[in-house]
């Protein structure tokens, strides 16, 4: 039994699918960063090949459907070491039954795929709201987040469009990389926790943070307290970076 280890990139995943697809035996695909020693699988390191990746990309898009391709991408961002192997089963299922299988909401693979995709999509949507910028220098804004899934690629266009006239950095502390926007382009860059700390330490207090806290407290209706509902919409694990509840 083989385990294909790829370099964490989306093209790497597509290359791995290219090679793993025709395997007869049980096979696994794993991101390099999730690779753990184990005795049962024979490890194969996948070298990303652009042309193979493109072939898989095109056939997912044209032979199956755009929806299938986009599901594969969302799954790739999902935070679970086993997800890459699920992607392979999903792709195989779709090629076997054609992409109408996506309509079979009672099929177990499709259900899991839908569930995961919805989680990634849902978290990305949440973070349109849960990013908190701090003005760290005049007209320069910096935010730290720790999302469950790798959602920066999904939120970049929203922030770029909305804040097109201000410099900003959105820093994913968990994955140690960031979106950087310089009034022209937005790009991704590795960004360590240390670098983030430095930025925060060298900045001044931002007086609008306390104003927002006042606002947050003032609009609460005591008579209607409903802690459970607050947590279900705004889970505790996100609070660390939300200044109004920090």
């Amino acid at each position: 039994m083989k385990e294909y280890i790829y370099d964490n990139s989306f093209d790497g995943l597509l290359t791995a699918i290219f090679y793993a697809y025709s395997e007869k035996d049980a096979v696994r695909i794993t991101k390099d960063m999730n690779d753990l020693p184990n005795l049962f699988y024979e490890k194969v390191t996948v070298i990303t090949e652009q042309d193979k990746a493109e072939r898989v990309y095109t056939s997912l898009n044209s032979k199956l459907s755009y929806e299938t391709l986009s599901n594969v991408y969302y799954l790739y961002l999902y935070n679970d070491p086993a997800v890459d192997t699920l992607i392979l089963s999903y792709v195989k299922l779709c090629f076997k039954c054609s992409s109408t299988i996506n309509l079979a909401k009672n099929n177990d693979i499709i259900r899991t795929v839908d569930k995961y995709v919805r989680r990634v999509y849902g978290e990305a949507h949440r973070f349109h709201g849960f990013v908190r910028f701090k003005e760290v220098a005049p007209s320069v804004f910096y935010a730290q987040i720790e999302p469950d899934h790798d959602i920066l690629p999904l939120i970049v266009s929203h922030f770029k469009e909305r804040f097109s006239d201000q410099y900003f950095i959105i820093h994913d502390l968990r994955r140690e990389y960031a979106i950087i926007y310089d009034l022209k382009e937005a790009y991704f860059k590795d960004f360590s926790i240390e670098e983030g700390k430095k930025i925060v330490l060298s900045s001044q207090t931002d007086c609008f943070e306390s104003l927002f806290k006042s606002f947050y407290q003032a609009v609460t209706i005591e008579e209607r307290k409903n802690e459970r509902q607050r947590r279900s919409f705004m889970p505790k694990r996100y609070w660390k970076h939300l200044i109004e509840v920090k």
Binding site: T100, L103, A104, K105, N106, R111, H125, R126, H128, G129, F130, V131, R132, F133, K134, E135, P138, S139, F141, A143, H158, E161, R162, F163, S164, D165, Q166, D206, C207, F208, E209, S210, L211, F212, S214, F215, Y216, Q217, A218, V219, T220, I221, E222, E223, R224, K225, N226, E227, R228, Q229, R230, S232, F233, M234, L242, E244, V245
Partner: protein, 463 residues
């Protein structure tokens, strides 16, 4: 960009913000969805059609907009209102620049989707509306702000001012607050019905006219692209659920309102004409939201859900279950053949699961186990459906039996009784249960009840 505010001023601004946002908090229409405003490169802001929540308060409501009053000084004396003239309450007034400054800076930090600006009536309705419009004009033209703006139309303000404000706003609303003429006379005698409905009608006419313009000329200005909404207070007056929902229905039909919001009356004042209630009737509010949801997305009419004989929802059942139990002759329906709008009428089947049923049954007939996977709440649905011609209901197609199994263990009428403190010990004695803890004096409605499986989707779930 603004200069950092100086310290002396800051205290002041903070206090104003506390007073004027607390004064606006009972206005529930928080949503920022349903509008479209394209953003220009190099300018600030965009409007997302889906609506974005930036935070949630301890009461579980979504913070989407900076919701403030321009001022809470008021010349009127509406009985139910915390800002009424006769109340001895701290007063404040923002300047136009202060509101602009807060909006822009909160927005740049991604705290908010935009501004929700309302006001008490200072000096006179026109003066107030003029000030509100100045804030909007400043944001749109001086600051180049393309975020979301919701503004209140002040009843009694001139037509010109309302026309002008609409050119800058994404959404406008006129709060009706009191669901009938009679109640209005009783609790807000200085407000006239015409003053409320006139601007509402005008906004709706303007929206239609501008839409027609834009069909002809792409460049024609947009007018309140997010539509208008209103709010009704629940439980301050004896109006029935039927009269409330019928009013909402009229508003949706006649003025194409985007939304009607319901707000359980929170007793902030006492007065001869006010009910002496202890708890806001939040469960009733919840049932009304569910009923409203059925009007807007499920094709129900108010008179199907309620009638003169039963003018109020039975709080123990969600409105759809209630309706189904009263129309049992239409059931059971076959999952594999029923049309979409009939699937939607089955208790326990929502829009999403109805869509999933449609999509999957088209590949192969569904069996009973499949339904759970598709998100159908079988606890309720089992009584009203067949699956491949087989009926799975545990107690048969019998109204009394179904009512008995679906009735919550704790009668919700007790929990939602606004007139008395809930005496849980009495109830426990009835249920032959031992109270394990001493409940605090100000007992709140247990959260579990509020979060029954028909949870409060209605409050936040915008489509």
């Amino acid at each position: 960009m603004f200069d950092i505010i100086e310290d002396g001023d800051k205290m002041d601004l903070n206090q104003k913000l506390e007073i004027l946002s607390a004064a606006a908090k009972y206005d529930v229409s928080c949503s920022s969805s349903g509008s479209k405003r394209s953003s220009k490169a190099g300018s600030l802001g965009s409007v997302s059609a889906a609506g974005i929540c930036h935070s949630f308060t301890p009461d579980g409501r979504c913070i989407s907009l900076l919701k403030v009053l321009l001022t809470n000084y008021c010349i009127y004396d509406c009985a139910y209102c915390a800002n009424r003239k006769s109340n001895d309450t701290p007063r404040a007034a923002f300047t136009v620049d202060e509101v602009v400054n807060l909006t822009i800076n909160f927005y740049r930090r991604n705290y908010i989707e935009g501004l929700f600006l309302s006001s008490a009536v200072i000096q006179n309705p026109n003066y107030t509306m003029e000030m509100l419009t100045q804030v909007l004009q400043n944001l749109r033209t001086k600051q180049n702000f393309s975020g979301y703006i919701h503004v209140k139309a002040i009843p009694g303000a001139s037509q010109e001012l309302i026309d002008k404000a609409g050119l800058y706003a994404d959404r406008m609303s006129v709060n009706i607050e009191l669901p009938s003429d009679h109640s209005l006379k009783l609790l807000a005698p200085e407000k006239k019905k015409e003053d409320i409905f006139k601007p509402m009608k005008q906004i709706s006419t303007n929206i239609t006219a501008h839409l027609a313009e834009r069909k002809k000329f792409k460049k024609a200005p947009i007018y309140v692209p997010g539509g208008q909404s209103t709010q009704l207070i629940i439980g301050a007056t004896p109006d029935s659920d039927l009269s409330i929902l019928s009013l909402s229905q009229k508003l949706y039909d006649k003025y194409s309102l985007k939304r009607v919001y319901y707000s359980a009356y929170v007793p902030v004042n006492t007065g001869a004409n006010l009910p002496a209630i202890q708890n806001p009737p939040t469960l009733r509010e919840h049932r009304l939201y569910q009923g409203d949801w059925l009007l807007r997305f499920y094709g129900f009419r108010a008179e199907e859900l309620l009638n003169e004989k039963n003018p109020d929802f039975d709080i123990n059942f969600d409105p759809k279950t209630n309706w189904a139990l009263n129309n049992l002759q239409l059931f059971p329906i076959e999952i594999n053949t029923a049309p979409f709008d009939m699937l939607l009428r089955v208790p326990g089947i929502g829009v999403r699961s109805a869509q999933k049923i449609l999509s999957s049954r088209h590949l192969a007939p569904l069996n009973y186990e499949d339904l759970k996977k598709l998100g159908v709440v079988l606890k309720r649905a089992q009584h009203f459906i067949t699956c491949r011609s087989k009926y799975h209901g545990a107690v048969g197609l019998n109204e009394t039996n179904i009512r008995t199994v679906l009735r919550p263990k704790l009668d919700l009428n007790i929990a939602d009784n606004p007139y008395q403190q809930l005496n849980l010990f009495d109830h426990m004695r009835d249920a032959k249960m031992q109270p394990a803890v001493i409940f605090p004096k100000h007992f709140q409605i247990p959260q579990k009840l509020l979060l029954a499986e028909d949870a409060l989707t209605s409050l936040t779930g915008e489509i």
